[in-house]
């Protein structure tokens, strides 16, 4: 399977939102190199506590506190150091802090639901948050999104740009979710499911999930070329 065939198609009629938004004409292929340029400097401030979604307000958010960690790698398995990771998510009740979210579930005055961080020397990211709730959407009758955290990564170059979603292991809603099942092969879908990570849990404080992310393109890490 080629890289392209592993990705979800633009038109996936079970996900109703694709029907009027997927391009109908074929994408134009450019010769090699035309999309090879480095990511620009990301102009957004990333503060020390931006990775902790539970400490952005006066009180703590309601919900199951979790630690989400993982590595960001290039397609050769090399870590991407100091790369930007942005996340956003619903609160524990399944509600986003967004005026267009009409789900009749409570907002949490102590939860915004957005965070960001840079990966460390080993390509590791780390967020502290609460486990998001499932929520209904109007795609089809009784449609519910499985619990998920949205991730956005710039990577090192234009081709490595990725926006995706991380899911939680064992969620029975995953098999019924057309956004996840749009990915053609099972191995690809599994790559979006985090694993419970007992090593990272903190006793008497938080559970943990681990999820690695692999981006297109090559990281510029000359040291590792010499191994």
């Amino acid at each position: 399977m080629s890289e392209d065939e592993r990705e979800p198609p633009y038109l996936y009629p079970d996900y109703v939102g694709t029907r009027l938004r997927a391009p109908a004409k074929p994408l134009v292929n450019l010769p090699a190199g035309f999309h090879d340029f480095p990511a620009p400097l990301f102009p957004r401030t990333i503060a020390d506590l931006d990775h902790d979604l539970t400490r952005q307000h006066a009180g703590e958010p309601i919900g199951e506190r979790i630690i989400v960690t993982g590595r960001v790698l290039d397609s050769d398995g090399r870590p991407l150091r100091h790369t930007v990771v942005e996340v956003w998510q619903a609160n524990a009740a399944g509600r986003y802090l967004d005026q267009d979210d009409q789900h009749p579930a409570p907002l949490d005055p102590n939860f915004t639901g957005a965070g960001r961080c840079l990966t460390d020397e080993n390509g590791e990211y780390r967020f502290i948050t609460i486990k998001p709730g499932a929520y209904p959407w109007k795609n089809h009758r009784n449609a519910w999104r499985p619990a998920h955290i949205h991730f956005s990564l710039l990577g090192t170059e234009f081709r490595s740009r990725l926006v995706t979603q991380m899911y939680f292991p064992g969620d029975p809603l995953m098999a019924r979710d057309p956004i996840l099942t749009s990915i053609p092969d099972e191995a690809g879908r599994e790559r979006l499911v985090s694993r419970f990570d007992p090593e990272t849990t903190v006793p008497e404080w938080a559970l943990a999930y681990r999820w690695d992310i692999v981006l297109r393109g090559r990281a510029e890490t000359p040291f590792e070329d010499e191994r």
């Binding site: 009027l20 938004r21 004409k25 134009v28 292929n29 190199g33 340029f37 620009p40 639901g113 949205h150």
Partner: protein, 166 residues
Amino acid sequence: MSGPLTPSQTVGPFFGVGLPFEKSEQIVPAGSVGAIRIEGQVLDGNGAPVPDALLEIWQPGTGFGRARTDSEGAFSFTTVKPGPMRAPDGRTQAPHLNVTVFARGLLRQLVTRMYFPDEAEANAADPVLDLVEPARRETLMAKPCGGLLHFDVRLQGERETTFFAI
């Protein structure tokens, strides 16, 4: 050999809390020397506004811009016009902006280019425009509009924007 890439998923409708940030639509500060304003609309296959799209411009050597659409599907950026660029094959590319589109209903991003209407000669020699069928080239061309540039993104339909594989 390629590793197991992490597949893409839609940005969804509720990215507003996470992705746009203050002045993220200004690649250069509004009012700075040479600044140009670009305005446009994102439209679906029925010509209806797309109120939950996010656009990014990655401009080599200049910076990064990010803008969401409003309830009318409208967005704007402020930047400077780039110079001509050398193409990988040694030819010269006309000045252009790389525009990436995310939206609810897009399971992957779309990539397009915005070219400048006052560059007829450079556009005629551009190796990428040359790959686009002539009738569709106008979908990549911004239009002058009272001191600013107008650039619409039509995701689907008769005047569908030309998108490029990445």
